[in-house]
């Protein structure tokens, strides 16, 4: 049974990594595409409908939306075997990844407070990672 637990742990890490990458790249696509689409003319159903029409003709928006759909499928897959209280904080680490990517790729400045936030998220993810994908004692017995 230990082999099964190890395999599940590896599968969890692979799917988590893919999900975080799909989320980051998807949001990057949406953000890049929506900047050229611009804000809605009015926060009314008609205004939002017009915005949706323009957005759906932008290739980066469509690519970003597609990647977020993939992210959602990967998220659901994780939930089919791992604890929600494990998956959620691990997925949340994508905020730290986005901030770091913004710094490394786009050269965005990161304030001291934000660095502290990135450090805290990293520590929290390490702690949650130590607990394993499923805390259910009957399914993953301690070795």
């Amino acid at each position: 049974m230990r082999d099964e637990a190890t395999r599940r742990r590896i599968r969890t890490l692979v799917v988590l990594t893919l999900a975080i990458l799909a989320n980051g790249a998807g949001n990057l696509g949406l953000s890049y595409g929506m900047k050229s689409v611009g804000p809605p003319e009015a926060w009314t159903p008609a205004g939002l409908g017009a915005l949706l029409g323009t957005a759906l003709s932008s290739a980066p928006v469509i690519a970003g939306g597609f990647l977020l759909l993939i992210f959602f499928a990967l998220f659901l897959s994780l939930l089919s075997w791992a604890d929600l209280s494990y998956v959620l904080p691990m997925i949340s680490s994508c905020f730290a990844v986005s901030a770091l990517l913004g710094h490394l790729v786009l050269g965005e400045r990161i304030s001291l407070v934000r660095w502290a936030g990135i450090a805290l998220v990293s520590i929290g993810v390490l702690l949650v990672g130590r607990t394993g994908p499923s805390g259910d004692a009957s399914r993953s017995p301690a070795p």
Binding site: S77, L84, A96, R114, V121, G124, V125
Partner: protein, 122 residues
């Protein structure tokens, strides 16, 4: 409607939405590999699961409410408050899904939420 009420709706819908999705996916069966046959089988059961559909609907309500809240207040005000939904979700996972949340996992969840609040508030 006050912004506080909007944020309460966002947090509750995100948390209960995630709980419903988790319950539905546990019933649909484990995605034991990324082979197409497995994805097709589990995916077929997932999109017919009332829990998955309820969870998806709650997520959509939460997202639309989030957009409305953003139209009234700054992202740096709304987002750190919605980061508290991770804490509410963990409590719900403990009591509604009977997940074993160890002290280590609790510490991790609290530290991650605080970190997200700091990243988005600055």
């Amino acid at each position: 409607m006050t912004t506080g009420l909007l944020i309460a709706i966002i947090v509750v819908c995100f948390s209960f939405g995630d709980v419903a999705l988790t319950r539905g996916m546990k019933q649909a069966g484990e995605v034991s590999s990324l082979r197409l046959a497995v994805l097709d089988e589990v995916g077929g059961r997932a999109i017919r699961s009332p829990f998955v559909l309820l969870g998806g609907a709650l997520q959509i309500v939460a997202f639309v409410t989030y957009l409305v809240a953003l139209s009234r207040r700054d992202l740096s005000y709304v987002f750190p408050l919605t980061a508290t939904s991770d804490i509410v979700t963990t409590v719900a996972a403990r009591y509604m899904l009977h997940e074993r949340v160890t002290p280590t996992r609790w510490a991790g969840v609290l530290i991650v939420s605080l970190g997200i609040a700091l990243i988005s508030a600055s």
